[in-house]
Symmetry: C2
Subunit: 214 residues, 2 copies
């Protein structure tokens, strides 16, 4: 695999999953190679943007041939860390937690949900696929004993920080934060936030802007 | 309200909901003014970044006083288009659609869910708050007759484009796309995507990167 020779900007990182997603669609259609121009039409970035992004990682294209779909898909997967598997717990098993569990088990084979946690005693001892559903009291020991790497947090906002502290103490490496608040975390913990309200408010802005243009 | 005198970059727009969210927290605590330095500690952007962002809109701070929390909150709300109300439908009422409906009704008073749509006949005639749950066959007429402005799409990926086409034909202004695919839309339709997999893959990258640093 090609190695990164410099720090990659966050904007590029945010685009890589999108490249990989489109390449996967091409794979499904049996397409083996693609030019940056055709990739551009498909993804909606300019061909020059695409070449520039992929040059960050040494570039994978060949002059006059374009990109090998399989190769580029796998290389990007490798860069993203998707060439390995992850143990994951979901904390908070309301509607959103259930939606996420079902989404991941259907679409993300590298991510294994090994345990699910909620405050509600009523759901104790129920299973989701191979994962046992437990109460939050056993979260720390479970994460520690099972060597869980990722915690998905979907609890109410006011509980988010204490859940984060618990999993960090237990040795978690990454947090996928689906609550409405930002978390205070040590610098060696990876975090990715999905703030629903921020996204909805950005939509309102785009509508407002289009309205003013019209 | 202060007016925008130039095109605002997408990066700034993405930060505004976050500013507003923190200002709301300050309001709840009864805090009336804040310096860009204290705002910086709270939000995690540099004070200079904050001043620069807010200068895009004419700046709201006063030398030696800082920002008025209420004023800044409302001004940002106005810029985002949150000083008015929106009629919204949710299309797709599986677990994710249910989670979103419940989240919006609890946290987003400006967004009124006026109708919910799903393919399943079984849920017909059931209500969520004031919104009737209907089958997708009536989506076009409902959006058109009620003057609905926003459609939240949470259907399976392969149905996403046809739902988008239907609501666009019916006069929708904005789409909040929570499916795994990008939509082809006319240029005068606002769209904001929440691609769960892209976000999860970015998390994997950050973990991978921290791992290499360690």
């Amino acid at each position: 695999m090609l190695t990164k020779d410099k720090q990659i900007s966050k904007a590029v990182i945010k685009r890589l999953p999108r490249y990989r997603r489109y390449l996967r669609e091409l794979q499904k259609k049996g397409i083996e190679k693609i030019s940056s121009k055709d990739l551009s039409k498909l993804i909606g970035y300019t061909a020059s943007q695409i070449r520039q992004d992929l040059n960050n990682f040494g570039g994978f294209g060949q002059q006059g041939y374009g990109y090998s779909v399989n190769n580029l898909h796998d290389e990007i997967g490798g860069i993203l860390g998707l060439d390995r598997e992850y143990k994951m717990v979901i904390v908070g098993y309301g509607r959103l937690g259930q939606a996420i569990a079902s989404y991941i088990s259907r679409n993300e084979p590298q991510f294994h949900i090994v345990g699910i946690f909620d405050v509600k005693q009523i759901i104790q001892d129920v299973q989701f696929k191979d994962a046992q559903i437990m109460t939050c009291g056993s979260l720390y020991n479970f994460v520690r004993n099972e060597g869980v790497e990722i915690a998905v947090i979907t609890v109410p906002s006011e509980k988010a920080q204490i859940v984060a502290d618990t999993v960090v103490d237990a040795g978690i490496k990454g947090i996928w934060n689906l609550t409405a608040v930002d978390l205070e975390l040590p610098e060696d913990i990876a975090v990715e936030n999905v703030h629903m309200s921020d996204s909805l408010h950005a939509l309102a802005y785009y509508m407002h802007e289009l309205d003013e243009e019209a």
